[in-house]
Amino acid sequence: MKMVSEAQRQHAEAMLEGAAPVIELLGVSRVYPSRSGVVHALNDASFTIGASEWVAITGPSGSGKSTLVNLLGCLDTPTAGTLRIDGTEVHTMGGGDLDRFRADKVGFIFQQFHLIPYLSALENVMLAQYFHSMTNESDARAALDRVGLSHRAEHLPSELSGGEQQRVCIARALINDPPILLADEPTGNLDAANQRIVAEILAELHANGHTIVMVTHDPEMAALAQRKIALSHGKVFCHPVSNVVKLSQ
């Protein structure tokens, strides 16, 4: 897979080595009440993710992946521990502050794309601008151009292929220039050809300095990441394996 240039790879490695952590978890737990007591969806998780790092989160169903994605995406807050994102202690935030923070710091890429069916590709991208600050059509067009879809800007999601829809989703995630891209099974709904296109775009984004946290079941996609964080029964197992070299092979 020849996805990034040597210069880009070196740039990414350099950033990783000297980077301050953009995500820090220290003894983070998320407990849900249940009829039989409590469920420890995430138990005492501690790890960091550096700026410009590409991390894959893996684990079987019920391992706590969704809970971790919710916490990293600021859709939920931990019941215990410290969660720091981009230097801000997220676990102390709530309500509107958390919404604002999420809009600023996290770009979501979904398995099922989740494009608004009655808005065009361009408008779907502008929707993220609208909830962040103000819409800007030329920026939105540039984001679509970045994923190679400027010619499909006026098309409705139903007129786009799965791969194209996922690229619109990536453009939407990028439009507000968030420091973290949170990809939840980004290729889970795509055929091989489109998987490759999306993987290339993610690799390019990583090479350009984006921090990517990717939940995946796909070993090939996981292998593209620099590091795996495996989850089992709410417990975290970190594998400090750098795959940057593999990307260029």
Binding site: S66, V69, N70, G73, L75, D76, G95, G96, D99, R100, R102, A103, D104, F108, F110, Q111, Q112, H114, I116, Y118, L119, E123, M126, L127, A128, Y130, F131, H132, T135, R172, D184
Partner: protein, 437 residues
């Protein structure tokens, strides 16, 4: 972007929106019809009940022992205390002057009456009234008199127009064996004989049937009681009597007294009449007033009940429709949340949609409700009350009701949507986005 999303999402899920809109439309139709009826029904019922006579009676204060049995005054007709007819003009100056819809002053006296050939004429009781009297002023036109205030009277022939004309009570006409067109001799207190023509025979069902009826000023002349009036019957548009209406204004605090004074209770209008006419006592005629109050209270209660039931049903229907609509769009809500939209911002989108639906349903409901109110008014009160469909339409389409109806429609739409919107916003966006393709 907001308007684009609002517009696009408004035209989607047409069946659900149609159902919710229809519920709002039916609810506002019922409320508009009820409100339009309620605003006009008081006036209509007052007019209907006016057939039972005046609702306020005014008499001289020093004459409080005026005993009437079967309409016959038992106090002596001479030496009594009288009101001044000219003082009645002062009623134009009272706070609720415009609510006075009819006025009938009456002078009770006696004259001697006989056929031209009978010697001497025998004394008979007499009464003087206004007939078709212009009591209006520069602002209000009001033609009033005894026949308006006593709609059950049956006058054969025509009312007396002035001196030289007389109407006989049916009993008196029978005893004198005279009919319309016959000429009679009248002797007043001056003992000057005046020939008069019988212009009508009056059937009243009470003691008035035994009287000789004159135009008020004519009898004042015969009785030598210029400007005198024994009593005045007043018909006024009033607010139904309630506990506050029965309070004595002189025992109330100044603020409460002002409030009492400025409400069109029969009692407060009577109070203002007492203030305006020197030496007058004025009281509400309880039977008519209480009937009016009871009827209006019951009708008003029924209308509120129907309106509340209609709006409750609309709110339940809106709630059901919105619950399904919001549930179908939970992925969209989850996406907006993940993009950083605050709950308030998402809620405002759904509330705006519900509001738009409420406005559309409310406007159409207002139109249909007003039409329904017009049809009901024309049907209930009928043309015998002078309420043609055109008149009813003019009254029913009340622009002041539109904002009220739209406000109620908005409240219902918002109340009906709140539960679904709140539950949608409580959903875990991540779970929703993961589970929905």
């Amino acid at each position: 972007m907001f308007l684009r999303m609002l517009g696009e999402s408004f035209v989607r899920q047409r069946r659900r929106k149609l159902l919710a809109g229809l519920a709002i439309l039916l609810g506002t139709t019922a409320v508009t019809a009820m409100l339009a009826l309620a605003t006009t029904i008081g006036d209509r019922i007052h007019r209907e009940l006016a057939v039972y006579g005046a609702n306020i009676t005014v008499y001289p204060k020093a004459d409080t022992l005026d005993v009437k049995i079967g309409g016959q005054t038992l106090r002596p007709t001479t030496g009594g205390v009288y009101l001044h007819a000219s003082d009645l003009e002062k009623l134009h100056g009272i706070f609720w002057a415009n609510n006075i819809t009819g006025l009938s002053p009456e002078l009770d006296s006696s004259i001697s009456l006989g056929k031209l050939d009978s010697v001497p004429p025998s004394p008979v009781p007499a009464a003087g009234f206004w007939f078709q009297h212009n009591f209006g002023d520069a602002k209000v036109k009001l033609i009033t008199g005894a026949t308006q205030l006593h709609p059950w009277w049956k006058l054969q022939g025509s009312a007396p127009q002035g001196s030289g004309q007389i109407v006989l009570g049916a009993t008196l006409a029978k005893s004198l064996k005279v009919g319309i067109g016959d000429r009679l001799m009248v002797l007043g207190v001056s003992d000057v004989a005046d020939p008069v023509t019988v212009t009508g025979i009056l059937t009243t069902g009470d003691a008035t049937e035994a009287k000789a009826i004159f135009e008020l000023s004519t009898l004042q002349q015969y009785a030598d009681l210029p400007d005198a009036v024994s009593r005045v019957d007043v018909s006024a548009r009033t607010k139904p009597e309630d506990a506050f209406a029965r309070k004595d204004p002189d025992t109330l605090s100044p603020k409460q007294r002002d409030l009492w004074y400025c409400r069109p209770y029969a009692n407060s209008i009577a109070y203002q009449i007492r203030e305006a006419i020197p030496g007058a006592a004025a009281e509400q005629v309880r039977q008519v007033e209480q009937s009016e109050g009871t009827i209006l209270e019951r009708i008003s209660g029924l209308m509120w009940l129907v309106s509340a039931a209609a709006m409750l049903a609309a709110a339940v229907a809106v709630s059901a429709a919105m619950a399904t609509a919001v549930l179908e769009r939970r992925t969209e809500i989850g996406l907006m949340r993940s993009l950083g939209a605050s709950k308030v911002r998402i809620a405002s989108l759904f509330y705006s949609e519900a509001g738009l639906l409420a406005l559309l349903g409310g406007i159409v409901g207002y139109g249909i409700g007003s039409l329904l109110a017009a049809l009901l008014t024309a049907r209930i009160f009928g043309e015998q009350s002078g309420i043609t469909l055109r008149v009813a339409m003019a009254h029913a389409f009340n622009p002041a009701l539109l904002p009220v109806v739209l406000g109620i429609a908005l409240l219902v739409a918002i109340a009906g949507s709140t539960a679904s919107i709140r539950s949608a916003l409580r959903m875990d966006p991540s779970a929703v986005l993961r589970n929905n393709a």
